[in-house]
């Protein structure tokens, strides 16, 4: 697991108040019962804060699973 994914997992654990939570690229709201629209807002805000990025409207509307978040963060690193 890369440091970024580690950090992402910590954010998920904090938002969902579950220190045992493990995320995979295909983890989606179907896998986490509390991943609702408010949790989505909190996740995006926490990730932006932690990684010092600002996601665009297109990026945010494309966040359907953890892999989408990782991809968006990776793009920021390479751009």
């Amino acid at each position: 697991m890369t440091p970024a994914v580690n950090q992402l997992e910590s954010i998920f654990q904090e938002i969902f108040d579950n220190s045992a939570l493990v995320i995979r690229p295909d983890t989606s709201p179907r896998d986490i019962a509390d991943w609702d629209s408010v949790a989505q807002v909190k996740l995006v805000l926490a990730i932006e804060d932690a990684f010092a990025v600002r996601f665009t409207t297109e990026e945010v509307s494309g966040f359907h699973c953890v892999g989408d978040l990782i991809e968006a963060l990776n793009k920021r690193k390479t751009s």
Binding site: V38, V41, K42, V44, L45, E48, D49, R54, V60
Partner: protein, 143 residues
Amino acid sequence: MTDASPIAFEKVEIGRIFHASESFTYAEMDRFAELSGDRSAIHTDAETARRFGFPDRLQYGFLLASLLSRIVGTNFEHAVCAAVSIDFVKPALVGEHIDVRAEVTQVQEALRSVVLKITMLGADGVVARGKLTILFLARRPDL
């Protein structure tokens, strides 16, 4: 309380600070006890508060938190609270003047959301601190 009419999401800027101040009275504490159903003696009876080493009744934390609702409702146009976290770090006494300072720390355009860093100041410094996330509602074009 507020120095301007509510502002739209597009006008919210990082770093801007909003305030709400209040000194909740005995009567207001009593009304909150009725509304909330919390009649804990530490909030409703001065003699009980004194037995625990406080000079008077302690303010309800959630009455203080209601000032966050005031901040949102009076400063932001068509916005609602989405998430709140507050640490009550020091008790405040009935009648104590409380100033709530809410600083915009994050704006997320796609989600029309704003994060505010909350600091509540009493007579002897910080009584509570926290974070408030608000959402600006998008008007439905069909209504």
